[in-house]
Amino acid sequence: MDSFVSAFAEAGALLVSFDPDFLSIVGLSLRVSLTAVALACLIGFPLGALVALTRFPGRGVAILLLNTFMGLPPVVVGLIVFLVLSRAGPLGVLGLLFTPTAMIIAQTILVTPIVAALTRQIVADLWVEYGEHLRSLDAGPVTTLATLITDARYSLATVVLAGFGRAIAEVGAVMIVGGNIDHVTRVMTSAIALETSKGNLSTALGLGIVLLFLALTVNAAVQIINTSAGKRAALA
């Protein structure tokens, strides 16, 4: 019980202190995860829509793989990216291991299947409704894709959130490829793991509370945008 009370005290202290070390950890967490989610959306939106709209041999397997990869274990992804980026690995010459870039790569790999798989489902459902009209218009593939993604934008906002939730919360991948180096690759989750192992439970909990608070803020922001825009356009 004590540790909870002191954790909240610590969290509050952390929040108001504007401690530069703490702020750099939060900043790096946001930078890595937001960049990864943006990249994952750039790949996952069109990929999911393509799988939804095209028929090709092995499509069933592709959907199965996409859905399965939604649950990729972060440590496994971390390990694979580690092997690829390590000095002896195929991309070792780039010298990316233990940099934020490596963390972004790992999280992009984690989040892309989530974005693609959910996008596929949403676009497939919308196609049931729009398909005949778009084909009647003789709309080309680019127009069709753009129409479906544009009109599914409110559902896709939720997909972005799911992806962000996955990225900001995971520790396995960033820990392995980033190395949790102070001031370089330390993010909130890896800091929590470190503080816990050092026995600084209240600091760890404090960081955890700040992490939850961050997630809450992002979700609330999207929800506000969604409801006001949704009301304006009555798009449900």
Partner: protein
């Protein structure tokens, strides 16, 4: 309406369509010339919607073929279709029309003017900025017609466009269809509504159980149907 040559007449040659081993349409042939309003008449399940979709190219026939006077993309872009349940994009009323114009590669500068003209024609100018999906059923169907109008089709397929509308909305839709006819757009409409068929049709294609039983002048059909199914349908006896 636009371009040098017409995509009409439309020739359907021995069309058949099967799904799951059931023959839903069998050996249907006809020619649709420009000008006259053609109504596909028949009870539910006769294959009217199916036939419209085959003509429009939304479905591929199991055998037989649909041929236009001009083939390929140019013919596809000069057709339009309005469905029983209008497909409303999650955009404003005017946005639904500019989207269709964009899909037809109409220059951006012209889209809004043409969309607004079409909305005015359909009496929808006052709801131009409203989301299409909050419009009433009648307004949505008029918007679907305005959207088709804006793309200036040579032929308009209508699949029971008033089946779920009240009498006033039905009248408004029929007036718009009349407008298409007056602008020399070929009308091909499926309906099971005898009164509507009498009001609109110049020619009747009478379908029953996937077969084309009569293809004739509307007046002649209503005066003296040549088949017992046709007589029964006009007499209002149920046909299954």
């Amino acid at each position: 309406m636009s371009g040098p040559a017409s995509i009409l007449p439309l020739r359907a040659h021995r069309l058949a369509f099967e799904a799951g081993g059931t023959r839903l349409l069998d050996d249907v042939s006809f020619i649709l010339p420009a000008g006259r309003r053609t109504v596909l008449l028949g009870p539910n399940g006769a294959g009217k919607s199916l036939l419209l979709r085959l003509c429009h190219g939304l479905l591929k026939p199991s055998s037989g073929e649909v041929r236009w006077a001009i083939e390929g993309r140019r013919s596809a872009r000069r057709q339009a279709m309005v469905f029983q349940q209008p497909v409303m994009l999650r955009r404003s009323a005017v946005g639904n029309i500019t989207h269709a114009l964009a899909a037809h590669d109409v220059p951006r500068a012209d889209r809004l003017t043409r969309a607004n003209a079409a909305l005015a024609l359909a009496g929808l100018s006052h709801v131009a900025r409203r989301p299409a999906r909050v419009l009433s059923g009648g307004e949505q169907q008029r918007l679907a017609l305005a959207r088709a109008w804006a793309t200036e089709p040579e032929i308009l397929f209508l699949d029971e466009p008033t089946a779920s509308l009240d009498p006033a909305a039905t009248r408004a839709v029929e007036t718009l269809i009349e407008g298409f006819h007056a602008a020399d757009t070929k009308i091909v409409m499926a309906t099971h509504d005898l009164g509507q068929a009498r009001r609109i049709a110049d020619d009747i294609l009478f379908l029953h159980k996937g077969r084309l039983l009569e293809a004739t002048d509307a007046a002649a059909f209503f005066e003296k149907p040549q088949t017992k199914e046709g007589r029964a349908f006009i007499a209002g006896e149920l046909l299954w």
